[in-house]
Amino acid sequence: MNGIRWSYAINQWKPQFDDFVRREQHERALKTISIAGFEGVELTYGTGRWEPLGNPQQLAANFGSVAGFRDFVRGCALDAVSSWYWDPAERSMEHLTGPLSPLAEADVPAIVARATELAEALAALGGSVLLVRPVGGAGDVEPLDDDAIGRLAACWEAVGRATSEHGVRTALHVDFLSALRRDHVPRLLDRTDPSLVGLAVDTGELTAGGIDPVSVIERSGDRVWHVQFKDALAVDDAEEYLQPHAHWTVRVRGGAREVPRWFAEPGVDGGLVDFAAVTRALQAADYDGWIVVESDQSPHPAASALLAGYLVQRELRPLVEGKEAA
């Protein structure tokens, strides 16, 4: 890929399992993303018949084939599915499997096989990055010793090798609850082959985790294979991410402070991320690839997409294009 391309994440349209199931809703969302100025859409893995955009089997069940979905996306005037987010700990009703763990060597073949399916479909959809949750939450796994880091590295290298055969890069998406938050990220990156595994920088997740995304880009810029722009409205400065089931108690419920909302579209009132600074840091690192804008969740998904589109068009893309022109 040459230069930076802008995409928008679909996940904000599906707040509950029975939402965003119908074709006309997908069409309206994709058209909204398109007209807001984005070229691509990022999908989030899901399972079962109420997740029509969740995995290749469901795409085929709903659109006849993966290619049928590609035509649907293009019919909404988007070029591509930029990327797919997948957490192997999500069960698969299509495969009748429960959670898979990258820490368990026995699960690695299944993880590689599943990632391969996603990468194959993604390639057919014009995408280039499979984002993975590299390990569970800090409160839900044993502390990561060297051996554990080694097992993770081996798993994701194997995945990276498999997806690269389809022209799809594997990028580790470290969220603010991750056992890899803080110093573990470089430890894992250092143990992986730079040609097989990269990093997905999520500005909102890093900021909520108390980590400046600019510093991550400055330190590991050559490893950044994917970027997500979302804003953070609060920081987990009490390290609540160390609690068990923090996905539920901290992310969903907001922890002890009952944070009403951790994330929103870039530029939201009260947002903590300096997107101009992040964009300049990406340029300085010669970043080449997708920037996926997201709000994660939203009370008004279309409004979030349009507000983010305004910010990208008016402030962020000019920063990038200014440099490219020069």
């Binding site: 904000q12 707040p15 509950q16 029975d18 939402d19 199931v21 119908r22 074709r23 006309e24 079962g48 018949r49 109420w50 029509p52 469901q58 069940a61 709903n62 009703m93 009748l96 089931h245 539920w248 969903v252 419920r253 009952e258 009403p260 909302r261 994330f263 929103a264 994660d296 969740q297 939203s298 009370p299 998904p301």
Partner: protein, 315 residues
Amino acid sequence: MSDERAIKWSYMDHWRSNGPAGPVDQWHSHRTMSAFLKQIKAVGFDAIDTFDFRIWQMYGDYGGPAKYQEMVQDHGLERIVNTFHAADYDVRNYAPHLPETHENILEDFRVTMGRWSEIELDNIIVMPATLYYDMEPVTEDKLKYSAECWNKVGEITAGSGVRLTCHHEFFCGIQSEPDIDTFYSYTDPRYVSLFVDTAQHCIAGVDPVALYDRHAHRVSGFHFKDTRNVATGDDHRHRPDSEIMAPTTGKWFHEMGTDQGLVDFAAMMTAVRDNGYRGWISVEHDKANKEGGDYSESTAISRWYAKNVLEEIYR
């Protein structure tokens, strides 16, 4: 109101409210749960029904079903009456018409009943078949295998003092009038009951009042909800999903008392009275927030209808 009432009203747990980052259900937090229970109580419901899959939140957030039920009671509601067992039907491992999957189903219920053992439920409600397209063609043999499966499941649940009762979604394999009748002819009345969902039967083209009258001795409860549409064409076998993806209809279910509703609730309530039914009627308005609807309002409107129309017929 005195305890002399023949009918009490329970609220089936579909619910969404608007949170700061989009819609949330009542299990989102203790605060949203409390707000839910307050609203249900305010308009005069007596109790709630729930889903089996909520058991994890009951254990995780409230210390188990008994503790959760205490919270329900602290809000002035009696108890949890019924639970709905929403299983992942799959012809590979969980399909009542396929005997080779029965042991897996039975084991599921052994485990499930153990999880609920700390409180007393009236019914565990099931959809008695896979999705229609996974069962068709619906043959007498398949109905018979399904009945055998539920007879055994009913024996397990009866061991825990809970009735196994069947709720016939319009998109499941046992939804037509003759198939329902055949199915009950093979099931054991001691172990398998019928749970009449007024809207589901109506959508499937079955008159819920006539069905109830015919099987009244087998009926262990009701979902009172309404619909404005009868399924047409392949609606009931639309792949991969009929309930919320059928092209003809974006929203199948409406609260009772809705304009243009197809269910004759006055006739239904009259039949409930004339058959001498005493006990719980559950009110449901599954997916009320679709197409601009609102759960709080639908709950108020349905309870208004129960109080001002149905209780005038039978209470």
